[in-house]
């Protein structure tokens, strides 16, 4: 069970508070979308889940995030282990300037898989899982930068899948992609949700409505509303949510 229980999460950058007392439970499996206007803290929130905010020196986090009942911010937690279990895909495709094969094989290798045959199997499986295998199987040794933007983003998804995480975070994964590439990523998300707990930050409300099972609305660092996607878009309980989804704000 890889539900994510967020308890009293507060995040600061220096003196500026980016998240205020966020409490929510992201259920196991399925897709949870995080929406809200720019600067509402949605990226900060998702980056708290795999502790990516740790690399920003000015950042301070209070509260708990529990996965399988264990606090990710607990005293004897190994951050690299957290990030191994919680994969992440970023806003802009950021493959390594290496071959397609090396991009995928990198993470399993640093986590201890040395056997070449095993690595090749992981590469193939991850690429298949990310619906990229057929397009690249003949040029695994070519640079990842030879791929199109959409392919690069699917490569980054495959790279995240290669260490077999339980949770995958997507930080606006389609904002740099054209509509066709976006559609492919969305199809892929729907494929992945039976196996992984997927959390996606998106600027695009239609995208949230299309793919997400649950949606959370953030505004000025606070979680305003969190619920079933259909319900949130059709019968929002909070006035702020309604104003945002009807386009009167943000």
């Amino acid at each position: 069970m890889s539900s994510i229980e967020v308890k009293h999460l507060n995040v600061w950058f220096d003196d500026k508070q980016a998240l205020r007392d966020v409490n929510m439970t992201i259920p196991n499996k399925g897709i949870t979308a995080i929406i809200g206007p720019s600067g509402c803290g949605k990226s900060t929130f998702i980056r708290s889940i795999n502790r990516m905010n740790d690399i920003i020196p000015s950042c301070r986090v209070e509260g708990q995030i529990l996965v399988e009942g264990k606090d990710l911010y607990g005293p004897d937690v190994d951050v690299t282990e957290v990030r191994k279990r919680i994969g992440m895909v970023f806003q802009r495709p950021n493959p390594f300037p290496k071959s397609i094969y090396e991009n995928i094989a990198y993470a399993p290798r640093i986590h201890g898989t040395k056997d070449k045959r095993k690595l090749s199997a992981i590469v193939e499986h991850s690429l298949r899982r990310a619906a990229l295998w057929d397009e690249v199987k003949d040029r695994l040794d070519k640079s990842a930068y030879d791929l199109s933007g959409g392919q690069q983003q699917r490569l980054c998804i495959a790279r995240a899948l290669a260490i077999d995480p339980e949770i995958i975070l997507f930080d606006e994964p389609c904002s740099a992609l054209d509509p066709i590439a976006t559609a492919k990523i969305e199809d892929l998300l729907s494929d992945l949700k039976d196996e992984y707990t997927v959390v996606i930050v998106t600027h695009n409300m239609q995208q949230a409505a299309r793919v997400a099972d649950q949606t959370a609305y953030f505004y000025l660092g606070e979680l305003i509303e969190f619920g079933d996607t259909t319900q949130l878009f059709e019968r929002p309980e909070n006035e702020l949510t309604e104003r945002y989804i009807t386009g009167r704000m943000g």
């Binding site: 990030r83 493959p95 790279r159």
Partner: protein, 286 residues
């Protein structure tokens, strides 16, 4: 009223820029041509394989050439690892506060210190205080200190040019900071780092003042037999021959010969750097 039409001005400026550009190329050609012509009487393979004879006025440059190569080796051993690793510390581990600002100022000021001052430092610190005497190692370390800021600034720039998104990608996969640096940041920054290293080595190879004070000999009949012995080196050899021979204003062909050997050595290092850089660019393509 306009003195010149816009098109005429355009032409004037374009030609001015072209003339300035041409002047730079011309300077290099003149330098090389002047030295090649001056050294024609002595230029041959024997010039490289024979030691100087008759108080430096005849023979080859074997002893100074070997001395300079030894020096470069010592500089490489000390300045490259310390320079690159401190650049890693400065750009990857140190925060953005006043301390990092201070460090940057220190490094850029170090790069501007005149070489004779490094010579004095080397004399006081390595020759006298550390008791190394006037020796290869004292000179090599002095040149190493001189090369450090160049290696550091170039490496730092190269590391800074690696997009943060690549570091994030690696960290998000569960790599540690050092793994990220070792597997991504350093390899991708390598072309820039190499450029800095070669620049620093070329600069060190050509310096006369620091080695003059710390161990270079005017004339030696034999090769240095350990890092603690004195040595001959190309730039000082050029100086020595140019000032001591009675060949008059035109100098002796040995001077030009030694100078051109030094020049070829430096250009050769740059060529190696270009080839290695090209290889890295092909390996890691953005």
């Amino acid at each position: 009223m306009r003195v010149m039409s816009r098109n005429a001005r355009e032409k004037l400026y374009f030609n001015l820029f072209r003339a300035c550009g041409g002047l730079v190329v011309l300077t290099l050609i003149v330098i090389i041509a002047y030295m090649v012509i001056g050294s024609l009487p002595v230029l041959s393979l024997d010039f490289l394989t024979e030691p100087p004879r008759r108080a430096n006025t005849a023979g080859g440059v074997l002893t100074p050439l070997v001395g300079t190569i030894y020096l470069m080796a010592i500089v490489s051993v000390f300045a490259i690892p310390i320079g690159v690793l401190s650049a890693v510390y400065l750009s990857e581990y140190q925060g953005k506060g006043w301390a990092s600002h201070f460090w940057r100022i220190v490094v850029s000021n170090l790069a501007g210190v005149p070489s004779i001052v490094y010579g004095l430092l080397g004399l006081a610190l390595f020759v006298t205080f550390a008791g190394l005497g006037r020796s290869l190692i004292a000179s090599g370390l002095t040149l190493g200190v001189l090369a450090l800021p160049i290696v550091i600034s170039a490496s730092r720039e190269a590391i800074k040019a690696i997009p943060p998104s690549v570091r994030e990608a690696s960290i998000a996969l569960g790599a540690t900071k050092w793994q990220t640096i070792q597997h991504h940041v350093l390899p991708y920054a390598m072309p820039g780092i190499l450029t800095g290293v070669i620049l620093a080595l070329s600069r060190a190879a050509g310096e006369t003042a620091p080695i003059l004070l710390t161990g270079a000999a005017f004339y030696m009949s034999s090769m240095p037999d350990s890092i603690f012995s004195q040595f001959m080196a190309l730039p000082y050899h050029v100086y020595a021959v140019a000032t001591q021979t009675m060949a008059g204003m035109n100098g002796s062909p040995v001077v030009y010969g030694a100078a051109i050997v030094l020049l070829i050595l430096v250009i050769g290092m740059n060529l190696i750097a270009i080839v290695v850089r090209k290889k890295y660019r092909e390996k890691y393509r953005w």
